[in-house]
């Protein structure tokens, strides 16, 4: 078995692009769900409108890269407002389904043949990331180091994406940290517990929910940018409900309403996915698991990841950073 490859890919995935982009989306969800109690199941749509906002502006309309970023951000804010105005009065579980529905609508429109000229149909758009890579300060080449025998190298493009991505994560975590220990964050948490009580204390619940939705949406949309830029393309299906589910999983894994929860959750999630796959496929290739073929590795990986998720949450229902006491309250 090629342990070096396994370890190297696993370590790289811990800081890789997927970790970054799911981490960002999960930070957004953490604000929505973890702190405010908004069951927003449409996070993928925020990522989507951002990615497509950028892509369409640059690739279809041939406008500059920075304008694309602004359009993407604007689209995320607009989506939050459009989604929020009618839905924020709904009870949590109803909100969940409405946001899922809205996100699916957004995805289906991106994907549809009718709008193929704009959004590119099921293949999406590409060719909008040059502006970003033009800013890359790293000359072409591979960067990294050897951890003992394990090589950990990224090429200049990836390194640039990762640098920006992790900076974004750091900034977002900093913002979340500052906000959540402020009175503003306190109002959010109170809304999570009981809106009516908060209303009776003179806080404009709707406005706070909206602020939360916009903030989380904008942070989520950064994930959409990272996706688009790292893969130099956007595709509709990545912005489906599956992505949102995974983000929730990540939030809960790390511990809801914890600043670093989503980041650690994302790392765990991707490490789990990559490690399990690496070990399995190598073991099968080496003939250690004679009853399995290499095609079966794919499904078995998910079976094991599913099991891993179950076990993690069975034995640590509050997530990695979560507070057991919080879980004990009102465990219904």
């Amino acid at each position: 078995m090629d342990w070096i490859t396994i370890i190297s890919t696993t370590l790289k995935s811990a800081v890789g692009v997927e970790t970054v982009l799911y981490g960002l989306a999960a930070i957004g969800i953490n604000i929505h769900f973890g702190y405010t109690g908004l069951l927003n199941f449409g996070q993928a749509a925020f990522m989507g409108v951002a990615g497509y906002g950028l892509a369409v502006t640059v690739a279809v309309m041939n406008l500059p890269f920075w304008l694309g970023i602004l359009v993407g951000l604007g689209a995320a804010v607009l989506l939050a407002v459009l989604l929020g105005i009618p839905t924020l009065q709904l009870r949590a579980d109803y909100l969940a389904i409405v946001t899922i529905a809205a996100a699916e609508i957004v995805r289906l429109i991106f994907r549809s043949v009718a709008f193929k000229d704009v959004f590119g149909g099921s293949d999406g758009q590409r060719g909008f990331s040059d502006g970003f890579y033009a800013l890359n300060p790293f000359p072409e080449g591979d960067y990294g180091f050897n951890l003992g025998p394990v090589p950990i190298f990224f090429n200049h493009r990836l390194l640039w994406v990762l640098l920006v991505g992790w900076l974004l994560i750091a900034v977002c975590c900093g913002i979340v940290y500052l906000l959540m220990k402020s009175p503003w964050g306190r109002v959010l948490k109170a809304i999570r517990e009981d809106e009516d009580a908060v209303r009776s204390l003179g806080k404009n619940v709707f406005s706070y929910k909206m602020q939360s939705l916009v903030l989380g949406g904008v942070i989520g949309c950064l994930g959409g940018f990272v996706y688009g830029l790292a893969f130099a393309s956007v595709q509709p299906d990545i912005f489906g409900t599956e992505t949102t589910f995974y983000c929730y999983t990540i939030v809960i894994l790390g511990g809801a309403a914890r600043v670093l929860g989503p980041v650690i959750g994302s790392m765990i999630f991707w490490v789990l996915l990559v490690l399990v796959y690496g070990v399995l496929s190598e073991a099968v290739a080496a003939g250690y698991i004679p009853f399995m073929t290499s095609i079966q590795v794919g499904p078995v990986r998910y079976i094991l990841v599913g099991l891993g998720l179950i076990l993690l949450l069975v034995f640590r229902p509050q997530g990695i950073f979560g507070d057991k006491r919080e879980i004990a309250i009102d465990a219904r």
Partner: protein, 429 residues
């Protein structure tokens, strides 16, 4: 009589080719344009056809032979114009659609077919003809309404199981779609794998799935409840379970579509404006009966009421002498069985695939929510609304976006009635 024989021979042409050796099956030696003229199935002889280049330079002029066929070979690939000489048509014939000119491309080493559809003179032109043949709006509407109810009932059945479990335990079970798939795959295993007829296979599948539902709660969810695992953690665990089950299915069932051994591609019958397969009616009847029986049972029977009591307040239910675990287990058993039945019905009406449950999960959730969370009849009403809107909305939106219609309706209804159609608002203070 002779013509019939010729037609028959032509019809069997394919078979001839099949029997012929590879020599016949080689690439056709042809580069040009060709076509066959027929009027009401009979070849038309002696019609003049002129081929020119795109620019108008004449290439060749031919007439159709006894079989109605003509062909023009050209030297260079490229665009050519084909004109049918209307005056050479038989008295009683005309070209459908009116235009007698076709412009098309000839590709290197290939012949392109040219079609001039003929029709008896005096018959309406093709354009009008087509719209005359088109079924009226209401026929389509009726068909789609029927399909909507058909789909809605399947969703409702699946939604019922979800709603029951959600109602009693507060678990948002993202693995419910997989329970639906499980039912279908179990039935498939008994049906195709073991050779039972579908009906007993389905019955056994539902029973086995119900037993598995019981076991799930007994050995898994129930244990988690006992440990005091919160509903949110359970929800994420259910995502894990969904992944687990889905890929177990992929491993053992494979990624392809399958169908049951019986009732596949059952020919439809026409009833008024609706065409439907007999199996649809049986399935709908079964679904409706199950839904109503379960719904009424929840409202009327002691266990049903106990289930609602447990949903409201498990601790108080226990204090009233209700064995909460038992009630939940009954609900899981029922939910598992009903979900499996939904899977069988879905497999019967469509096909089986390892993602079949996952693919309708969103619709299930939409149905449950639209009707009002946790109410049995709400799930029924909500699902049918969802089913109807999916189908009927295609009258106006492209079918690829048909879910958009349903989801948009969901959003709109919830805006007007935030508690769902049959849900009740909660009292404040």
């Amino acid at each position: 009589m002779r013509r019939a024989v010729i037609a028959f021979t032509a019809f069997l042409g394919g078979l001839v080719f099949l029997l012929a050796g590879p020599a016949h099956a080689g690439p056709a030696e042809c580069q040009g344009l060709k076509g066959t003229l027929k009027l009401q199935g009979q070849p038309v002889n002696g019609v003049k056809i002129a081929v020119t280049t795109e620019g108008g330079q004449p290439v060749k002029e031919v007439a159709t032979n006894a079989q109605g066929a003509w062909d023009v070979q050209v030297d260079k690939p490229g665009k050519y114009k084909v004109t049918l000489d209307v005056s050479s048509l038989p008295q009683n014939a005309e070209v459908r659609g009116g235009t007698n000119v076709r412009t098309l491309t000839v590709y290197e080493g290939n012949c392109s077919a040219v079609l001039f559809a003929l029709q008896p003179k005096g018959a309406p032109g093709q354009q009008q003809n087509a719209s005359a043949e088109e079924s009226p709006f209401w026929t389509q509407f009726a068909q789609l309404t029927f399909e909507g109810i058909n789909l809605g009932l399947i969703i409702a059945l699946a939604a019922l199981g979800l709603s029951l479990v959600y109602g009693t335990t507060g678990l948002t079970n993202f693995a419910h779609g997989e329970l639906v798939t499980l039912g279908a795959i179990l039935a498939y295993a008994f049906n195709v794998g073991m050779g039972l007829h579908l009906i007993p296979a389905a019955v056994i599948a539902v029973i086995v799935a119900a037993a598995l539902g019981y076991a799930q709660d007994r050995f898994f969810w129930g244990q988690l409840r006992r440990r005091g695992t919160g509903t949110i953690a359970m929800m994420i665990i259910s995502i894990g379970v969904a992944l687990f089950l889905r890929y177990v299915f992929l491993l053992f069932f494979g990624g392809q579509n399958e169908a049951f051994a019986q009732y596949t591609a059952q020919p439809g019958v026409q009833i008024g404006p609706i065409s439907a397969a007999p199996k649809n009616f049986v399935a709908m009847a079964v679904e409706l009966v199950v839904l109503i029986v379960v719904g009424v049972a929840l409202l009327r029977t002691r266990t049903g009421k106990a289930a609602r009591a447990v949903a409201d307040n498990p601790a108080l239910a226990a204090s009233s002498g209700i064995n909460v675990d038992r009630v939940i287990r009954i609900i899981w058993t029922l939910g598992g069985g009903v979900a499996a039945l939904a899977g069988v019905m879905l497999g019967l009406s469509q096909n089986l695939k390892y993602t079949m449950g996952q693919d309708i999960l969103l619709l299930i959730f939409a149905g449950v929510t639209l009707g009002g969370l946790g109410t049995a009849f709400g799930a029924l009403v909500g699902s049918i609304v969802v089913g109807l809107f999916i189908q009927v909305s295609t009258l106006w939106v492209p079918p690829e976006l048909k879910s958009v219609g349903a989801l948009a309706v969901l959003i709109i209804v919830l805006l007007v009635r935030p508690q769902g159609i049959l849900g009740r608002r909660e009292r404040i203070g």
